[in-house]
């Protein structure tokens, strides 16, 4: 390297000297040419050596590689760097300004979502309601446009355990219900609970246990805990409202599973046992308990262990119970006569084997009721009720193929899917009383055409023996989420 510098210096000196000399002799010119030749040869030799060195060590560190490619191109000037620096400062300022003035922030991770339904309905049975106020009167109505549900939900985590996934999370949701003469509340609190994963959730092959405290849906049967976006039918099964199971309750509920089968070939996880057990007020949402007795709820379900591609996949048998106490009154008065049992038992079978599924649910209820006219002559007796609900559905399309939906794409593509279904729903409010049951047959079609949007078409035929009525409802509804 020293030698190259020497010849380069000599060559340059020779050139410089030539500039000052007034009339160089031939001999001097010859010397300068020789010096220049040597300088050029030395430079050529240096270039060759560099080329050989780069061939011998191709896996150069990243930083060196970048520097080499820069050396081959135009070097950045101080002005260039200052320009980049100015752009960066402008960008930082813009981001900070947008964050200060045009960004919604929260103190913890927050996911905002919601579900809304917009419905058109026609019934062959006219509805008429009298009321003391004009707003409450319904005059021979056969058809209506409604927004029966509008739910706004916030979910997130309060503590995220990166090591084991024992996360602390929350859910808060509120729903707008239709205003009626007796109900003018607009937005009601629905879910409000805290969850904690007691067992690690990192490994899908291990069991889970989560505890939820607050106002929440009950883990009873199939339809009760299902969220709106998963239900194929527009109207809920009769037992959910008539046995009071659809109401959210306030309390502490543990949910978990045991011995999961994990088929990594399909990213499929199916626990052998899933369970839930909890204690709640039993007095419904957004209110304190109305007695000191607490209600107990539990569920145990067994899923046949199988691989994803087996015919046994997603065959589950479950059982649920709910036991509680309700205040009893002298009929038609506010006179308390004590508490009575409120008991529900249920068994269910699910065979959800994409592309088709079958579900069946049997629920039995027992409610103590008071009869009599005064506290002294009140008698308490039990009324037994039962319900059968069966649903069959078939999916055309990829809506329920999880992996297919999670495609890597850069457009707003979503698979169009069609889900025809049929449901049989029978509820007998008093098994000891003949001919008082109500049966609803529903045939329908769900059309999924965007990620969170579906169009639902339901035809219900109701045979209500208690009211001696038989009629049909036609419902068309868009359900969309965000």
């Amino acid at each position: 390297m020293q030698q190259h510098r020497y010849w380069l210096g000599a060559g340059l000196l020779a050139l410089a000297g030539a500039g000052h000399a007034a009339a160089p002799s031939n001999e001097e010119l010859q010397k300068q040419i020789v010096a220049l030749k040597k300088a050029v040869e030395a430079l050529q030799q240096q270039l060759d050596q560099n080329a050989q060195a780069s061939k011998a060590a191709p896996a150069v560190p990243a930083a060196t590689a970048v520097a080499a490619s820069d050396a081959a191109g135009t070097p950045a000037t101080r002005e260039d760097l200052q320009g980049v620096q100015a752009d960066l400062e402008n960008f930082k300022y813009q981001v900070q300004r947008d964050r200060d003035t045009a960004t919604a922030t929260s103190s913890r991770a927050l996911n905002v979502g919601g579900t809304i339904q917009a419905r058109a309905a026609y019934s062959s049975q006219a509805t008429s309601t009298s009321s003391s106020t004009p707003a409450g009167v319904v005059n021979n109505r056969n058809s209506s446009f409604d927004v029966p549900t509008a739910i706004l939900a916030f979910t997130g985590n309060l503590y995220k355990d990166y090591d084991e996934g024992r996360n602390l999370g929350y859910r808060l949701s509120a729903g707008a219900s239709q205003q009626t003469a007796s109900n003018n509340s607009f937005l009601n609190l629905l879910d409000a609970y805290l969850t904690y994963s007691v067992l690690p959730t990192i490994d899908p092959a291990t069991s889970r246990l989560d505890i939820a405290f607050g106002q929440q849906l009950l883990p009873f049967g199939l339809e009760v805990p299902a969220t709106e976006d998963l239900k194929p039918v527009i109207l809920n099964a009769q037992f959910t409202t008539r046995l009071g199971l659809a109401q959210r309750q306030i309390g502490l509920i543990a949910r978990g599973d045991f011995d999961p089968v994990v088929d990594y070939g399909y990213n499929y996880r199916a626990p052998l046992l899933t369970y839930a057990f909890g204690v709640v007020n039993g007095n419904g949402p957004n209110t304190s308990d109305n007695n000191s007795a607490k209600d107990w709820v539990g569920r145990l379900a067994f899923t046949v262990p199988s691989d994803y591609n087996s015919w046994w996949r997603q065959l589950t048998v479950g059982g649920s119970f709910y036991r509680g106490k309700a205040n009893l009154f002298v009929p038609g008065t506010g006179t308390l006569v004590g508490t009575g049992d409120r008991v529900r038992y249920g068994v269910d079978v699910t065979y959800n084997h994409e592309p088709f599924g079958v579900t069946y649910e049997y629920i039995q209820g027992r409610d103590d009721t008071a009869s009599g006219t005064t506290q002294a002559n009140t008698r308490v007796s039990s009324i037994k009720s039962d319900s059968h609900t069966a649903t069959f559905f078939y999916n055309f399309g990829e809506q329920f193929v999880k992996g297919f939906r999670a495609q890597g794409r850069y457009d707003d593509w979503w698979p169009k899917s069609y889900q025809p279904f049929f449901r049989y729903d029978r509820f007998d409010p008093n098994t000891d009383k003949p001919s008082d049951e109500s049966t609803v047959y529903t045939a329908g079609l769900n059309v999924f055409f965007a990620q969170t949007t579906k169009f639902q078409l339901n035809i219900n035929h109701t045979d209500d023996k208690a009211k001696n009525q038989s009629y049909s409802d036609f419902l068309a509804q868009f359900q969309f989420g965000f």
Partner: protein
């Protein structure tokens, strides 16, 4: 009405044993796509997708080709195939093996890429210098994919197993984010490890370059029901992919191939380093040679040993080499690629 008539016609034709051509051929790709238009890298099939090779091959038949990219990689593609949403899948060895062992009726048609190094990477500030240094530490593993098999094979060579590490099941994108945040201590990555190293996010402390037995393989397989219905379409697809593989593995196209793959996000410089000093033909070969069979037999054995599958897979019956044989013969490419012996270290 139109659809009903088409269905009726289809049923009539099927009854006489001649299946009508489908309107669309659905090709699943067991990796998430990047870039716009969406694509992927590291495979001859990726170049076929970019060049529109299959689209051109099936255009005369009026058949559309649909590429479906799965963020959930092989397991998600298996799920889609089980639900009859795909006809062909490009994927890695383990996902195909778990799918086959789980009852998916598939046939392997041709190889795609092989001998791809896996790089053991740690966060840039980590002091770990070997896999052994990561014992008891948090190790990311995308279970059900080739990455899991590679990891288990390397670990077994050193007397280690998954249980010696705190393995966390993560998909590719989550792993990269966790690496950058320092939430995991190590992971085996393919070529994108070099990209992260260039950015200074990670350090590569080992690679599998010198060990052909642990290197990952990819291939293309077909739903057996589709193959039975449309063997002539399968042959056409394989022939098109073989011609594409010849173009892709031609050294004259080296720069174009790397540039094409770089559209999916990994820069050309990383591909150049990953492929050094390999010839394209060594890594991008469709051949179903003794090395291919041995690798898959070995992978099945390991998958059972590690408890990743519960049933055996008959590799010889699984592979359908007749389509490749016909394509190589028709295109006079029998000697274009060099078949490797079972150990992957010399010519067969």
């Amino acid at each position: 009405m139109k659809r009903a008539l088409v269905s009726l016609l289809f049923g009539f034709v099927s009854a006489f044993g001649v299946a009508a051509n489908p309107a669309v051929i659905r090709v699943g790709v067991s990796t998430g796509a990047s870039g716009s238009p969406a694509t992927f890298g590291g495979a001859a099939t990726a170049i076929a997708q970019q060049r529109g090779v299959l689209e051109a091959a099936f255009k005369p038949d009026g058949i559309r080709v649909e590429w479906v990219f799965f963020k959930g990689a092989g397991p998600a593609a298996n799920e889609a195939l089980a639900s009859k949403q795909l006809d062909f899948i490009w994927q890695g060895d383990l996902a195909a093996i778990t799918g086959k062992a789980g009852g998916l009726n598939t046939r392997i048609l041709l190889g795609d890429s092989r001998l791809a190094p896996s790089y053991l990477v740690v966060p840039a500030k980590s002091k770990a210098a070997s896999l052994e240094d990561l014992k008891g530490r948090k190790f990311a593993l995308f279970k059900g994919t080739t990455q899991q098999l590679t990891f288990n094979r390397i670990a077994a060579q050193r007397g280690l197993a998954e249980r010696d590490f705190k393995t966390i099941n993560m998909d590719g994108a989550t792993t990269l984010a966790a690496l950058a945040a320092g939430d995991i201590d190590g992971v085996y990555l393919p070529v994108n490890a070099l990209q992260l190293q260039e950015r200074g996010v990670v350090r590569v402390i080992e690679d599998t370059r010198r060990d052909p037995l642990v290197a990952a393989h990819t291939h293309l397989l077909v739903d057996a029901a589709f193959e039975q219905r449309h063997p002539q379409l399968v042959q056409k697809l394989v022939s098109a992919l073989v011609a594409n593989a010849a173009w892709t593995s031609d050294e004259a196209n080296r720069q174009q191939v790397f540039t094409g793959w770089a559209r999916a996000g990994v820069p050309v410089s990383a591909w150049q380093r990953d492929y050094q000093p390999d010839a394209l033909k060594q890594r991008l070969t469709p051949l179903l040679d003794p090395f291919f069979y041995a690798h898959y037999r070995d992978a099945v054995r390991f998958a059972r040993q590690f408890g990743l599958i519960r049933k055996d897979v008959d590799v010889d019956a699984w592979i359908a080499p007749q389509y490749l044989r016909e394509a190589l013969k028709a295109q006079k490419l029998e000697r274009y690629w060099t078949p490797l012996a079972a150990d992957g270290k010399g010519a067969a």
